[in-house]
Symmetry: C2
Subunit: 277 residues, 2 copies
């Protein structure tokens, strides 16, 4: 394992199996969360599978990833199937399987996605980047020795809504804004943008100031730029914003936006998250 | 065809084929849009397929529907596959196929969904219903003789952001708020809530005041209530709100909220929409 390869690229590396559309990867220890890899890294591996597929048309426009079960350590298999190819758009079904306790392959993640060849058109935004301090003027969140692995893979500078240090149970607004980039820095691409869209700690921890068990059930990412605009964003931090909408009977949703440091909307994202009592 | 059956129920009626999880439906003329059925009615049929499946666990929590190709008139087939069933959640893959010009079955729609058995927990909202005039005090949008069929299936009362009567090209905020319910009224359930989440005309028509060709590529609906709370919403109008976020190079996204008339958040929804020019 060369140390020249960025941990992110190691984590999403896929090997073609010989079966069309089937790729093998390894659950990343570098992005380990509590009971499995960080959800964002699985989303990134699915983007990678599409982009590696010889029939892939255009760039990602949309992906929805459903975490059906915790992924365990070791190998996993992705099936990436371009089920419908139109003139300028392509629709994908993706499934991640892993060997269960009895050795049989079981579905741990499902996804659908759309890729497209985009053309320049009239464009506008209705969600301009909020005015916040530039990244360089915001203190970097300290690296915590006992943190889960994936947290160490991101450089985070919280502008608003940092995780309350104490679970005081005081209810508050669930909005978080942070500057964030890969650690160490890495040029932005579709896979890393998909990964960072899941970077927010559970909104219920902020809203309720109580760290109850919680986990993403389904995340959707809409990509708003082409690969050239992503490349132009380079290694600069992104401004990432998330807010919960409704917390009810075991599930809450959040809506999120990701802007380049020059104020370009790169992606919007939504997720629904399980939480316990 | 009995006139006692509500057009919505006729539109989402599915017949089991004998193959497990496979159902046959008919593209609805009552909900016809320009070149195929209204996207919301397809989402509703997919919800119906899950709920009709003998292995369905709990109620819908999330569904993502991808419109891979325009559905034509006539029969279609839904495959509803509960690919992973956990203790209290279940993950679904759904595919809609229809005979193409050469008679072979082709994928026209894909979807993933999550159903769950929900339990009462701490709950809260971060998206309270905006203060607007009650439905009874808002003028009902006139029925247009030349409107597409599906528009006649909804009673709409626009509070804000009605479709500009003239394409004046003046750019404006893309927010629309309307009171909406089935026409004729029908008690709310998961299928009809999924359908109404797609009720908004394309945000680009409002933002840009130009009716360019546009069509939903992918929609996600998060359901925030159980069946009892939906039943309590009854036939009363819902307050539906949608706003575009980013319009760029052929695609825009929108974020939407749906509240009961008593102010309960019933669903949040997002979609990414293709637009031309």
């Amino acid at each position: 394992m060369s140390t020249d390869i960025h941990p992110f690229d190691r984590a999403i590396a896929l090997v073609a199996t010989g079966v069309p559309g089937r790729y093998q990867g390894q659950a990343s220890r570098d992005y380990w969360n509590m009971v499995g890899p960080y959800g964002g890294i699985t989303a990134a591996a699915l983007v990678q599978a599409m982009q590696q597929h010889p029939q892939c048309l255009g760039d990602p426009v949309s992906i929805t990833v459903n975490y059906a079960a915790a992924m365990g350590a070791g190998a996993f298999e992705i099936d990436a199937d371009p089920v419908r190819t139109n003139r300028s758009t392509q629709h994908w079904l993706l499934t991640v399987r892993q060997a269960g306790e009895d050795g049989s392959l079981q579905v741990v993640t499902t996804a659908t996605a759309v890729t497209a060849v985009r053309r320049q058109t009239w464009s506008a935004t209705d969600a301009p980047m909020p005015e916040v301090l530039p990244a360089a003027e915001v203190q970097r969140a300290p690296a915590l020795v006992d943190a889960v692995q994936w947290l160490k893979r991101y450089e985070m500078r919280f502008v608003d809504g940092i995780l309350p240090a104490h679970s005081d149970g005081a209810e508050r607004d669930s909005c978080t804004r942070l500057w964030v980039r890969d650690n160490p820095p890495r040029p932005l691409d579709f896979a890393s943008l998909a990964a960072v869209a899941d970077v927010f700690y559970p909104r219920v921890w902020l809203r309720r100031a109580a760290r109850v068990p919680a986990g993403t059930v389904s995340i959707t990412v809409y990509f708003h730029t082409g690969r050239d605009e992503l490349a132009a964003a380079g290694e600069a931090p992104l401004l990432a914003q998330a807010r919960g909408q409704e917390f009810r009977n075991g599930f809450f949703d959040q809506t999120a936006q990701l802007w380049s440091d020059s104020g370009l909307m790169l992606a919007t994202s939504h997720q629904i998250v399980y939480y316990k009592e």
